[in-house]
Symmetry: C2
Subunit: 378 residues, 2 copies
């Protein structure tokens, strides 16, 4: 029987809505991973990724796994046992980084903030004072909808010959970030957030200061010294593992869509979409968790009003309206909704459907929220 | 511009030809990784994988990466530092296993055979005599076209409380293998060989004796104690990483095709296709590397006749006929062709196209080879 999937509007924490053009690219006939025609697509994909990351790093490629595979690859290649690593923890994905660093045998120093707040930059800089080999931060904390400022971190790391390593899974192409400008040495993302590609690839980049550390990877699959022999076309393509061919087609198409719009316009649209949806929800007494200035545009995390059954509303949205939003995680479980504002989901139309459906589930009049939404979109 | 890929007949070492039904499944709309509708597809996929592996193992799932990710997952979860591990090495993929085991800190004992030959079972059993924690073998050695017999290995491992860990990337669904019957404790495969799915997933299974060893994974991404919390539906699905949704659609469809044919019929067809193509090539003086009884049906590795430019013919097949075959690796580089006999590539039609094209490139009369092929297909 053919694969039957229900009609869904994906406005959760990801995956995000995948445009028809990307699905069409995904289903083009598979060709070989050493076919010169595939090599040309790889080169284009890497170039598009460089533009998206805002980097000139030669070592830029999609890791063959989902976003967290990018994290594992980053830690496996750039963090050595006993390395002193400062890690910012203010949500699930900071915790995950700390976990991965611990598994790698690093001496981990956590700098924390409560879930829903950015980490104080001075606290990160203070922690670096004693010397460090790397600092890891999550630019877009998907569990709380908080964007972590990177100002000053790159300089501080460079001064101490340390690496600045960044998780930009949810922020890439959805909120202003130019890695070279920010002094980031390596970063990973996911295909299924603001890039609107299906999950399965982790966009990844590393600069020369990071590449110099390569050598002791415990992982064969993520060993960049081997992976780059395949992705770095100038010296020929040495077989490492079989690339996920069709997923690369899809990522390339998704990146073409990003750059047809333009990064600046795309960042601006995500900011506007975030503000418009926030205003609409505010009419319902549903308020954002992150304070002004700390918000992550692609992910609007809000507090569920008292007396509302979080899971029941979310299930109602899915079952009766075909709309997916996400619940809270960790300390926010049961008290938060996380709403994706990602790529083609960051448009007036999908947001209107969500506001109408949410009002129906809450038994509220949609007029006020809808007009606030429209006003937000101008 | 839309993704333009050339028309290719994939008769190399993989990826193999992907049927239209699988590409269509691949491009169904993406839904959420925690959507109950996706959970149902996951359960079906896991059940189909169990039937394909010939196992009742509850821990059966596709690892979110290509075949080698399955290897990394196997080693990360079941091999501990200082473990005594016997590994069979008679080709590139045995070497790769030995490499991964070394990275994990295991005390590796290599049992070798020359490239192109199976490893002597007695040599493997002898190596186990001193005691061991695990034995790793490659069932289908893709670099040489050799199938490794597993007879006696499972019992020997059980007797010593050791695990039998198997790479069946190229053999799964293409050559007889029933893991429970063979006493295999854990195994991994790839989606892009005899399953005819695009690359991007590593079918994986582990029995209770292996699962008991879980606990010290250096990798966060491949940590089965976390991955199983998501794939094991009975206790609810705990979010670990975002599954590659569309690739799971495709794998499920590919597995449905396998079981519409039936495993026995599929194994038999691969044997027939291998023999028919071998007979046709033999007419051209192109002989198989593996001796009788050691051949891997899904991968026919042959010696390039003296005086023939291996790479030029291979490039001619690709450029003038749109047919991909693979060259030799390691000690066989420049002197071997590796021809895939995998799934929908293991049919009379595609093989006829290959034989005709090869004769054209070699300047030989195709009549004899084509009639040998036809005879082989009966």
């Amino acid at each position: 029987m053919p694969t039957a999937v229900p009609d869904r509007l994906l406005l959760g924490s990801g995956p995000s809505p995948v445009p028809a053009r990307v699905l069409e690219a995904l289903s083009q006939p598979t060709i070989g991973h050493l076919d010169p025609a595939f090599g040309a697509l790889m080169d284009e994909t890497a170039d598009l990724l460089r533009r998206t990351f805002g980097t000139g790093n030669r070592a830029t490629l999609p890791i063959s796994g989902t976003g967290s595979a990018g994290m594992d690859a980053m830690v496996a290649n750039f963090v050595r046992p006993e390395d002193r690593v400062v890690v910012g923890v203010n949500g699930l994905f900071g915790e995950r980084l700390a976990d991965a660093l611990g598994r790698a045998g690093a001496a981990v120093r956590r700098v924390e903030a409560e879930w829903g707040r950015a980490i104080d930059t001075d606290a990160l800089l203070d922690a670096a004072e004693d010397g460090l080999d790397a600092m890891c931060v999550v630019h877009g904390e998907t569990s709380t909808g908080v964007c972590q400022p990177l100002d000053g971190l790159g300089d501080a790391c460079r001064k101490r010959d340390a690496l600045l390593l960044v998780d930009c899974v949810t922020s890439l192409a959805g909120q202003r970030l130019l890695l070279d400008e920010a002094g980031v040495d390596a970063a990973f993302s996911g295909s299924q957030k603001c890039l609107n590609c299906p999950p399965g690839l982790a966009p990844f980049t590393a600069g020369e200061r990071a590449i110099e550390r390569i050598g002791g990877s415990r992982s064969w699959y993520f060993d960049l010294s081997l992976v780059l022999g395949y992705w770095d076309g100038d010296g020929g393509r040495a077989y490492h593992h079989t690339a996920p061919i069709n997923m690369v087609y899809a990522l390339r198409e998704a990146l073409l869509l990003v750059h047809e719009e333009g990064l600046d316009a795309r960042w601006e649209r995500h900011g506007r979409a975030h503000a418009a949806l926030r205003a609409a929800l505010s009419e319902l007494g549903i308020e954002r968790i992150a304070p002004d200035g700390e918000e992550l545009h692609p992910l609007l995390a809000v507090r569920v009003p008292a007396g509302v059954d979080e899971a029941a509303v979310r299930r109602g949205l899915l079952d009766r309206h075909g709309i997916e939003i996400s619940g809270g995680l960790g300390p926010l479980a049961g008290t938060a909704w996380r709403i994706g504002v990602m790529g083609s989901g960051a448009e007036h139309g999908p947001q209107e459907r969500l506001v109408e459906a949410l009002c129906a589930e809450l038994g509220r009049d949609p007029a006020g929220p809808l007009s606030a939404l429209e006003e937000g979109w101008g």
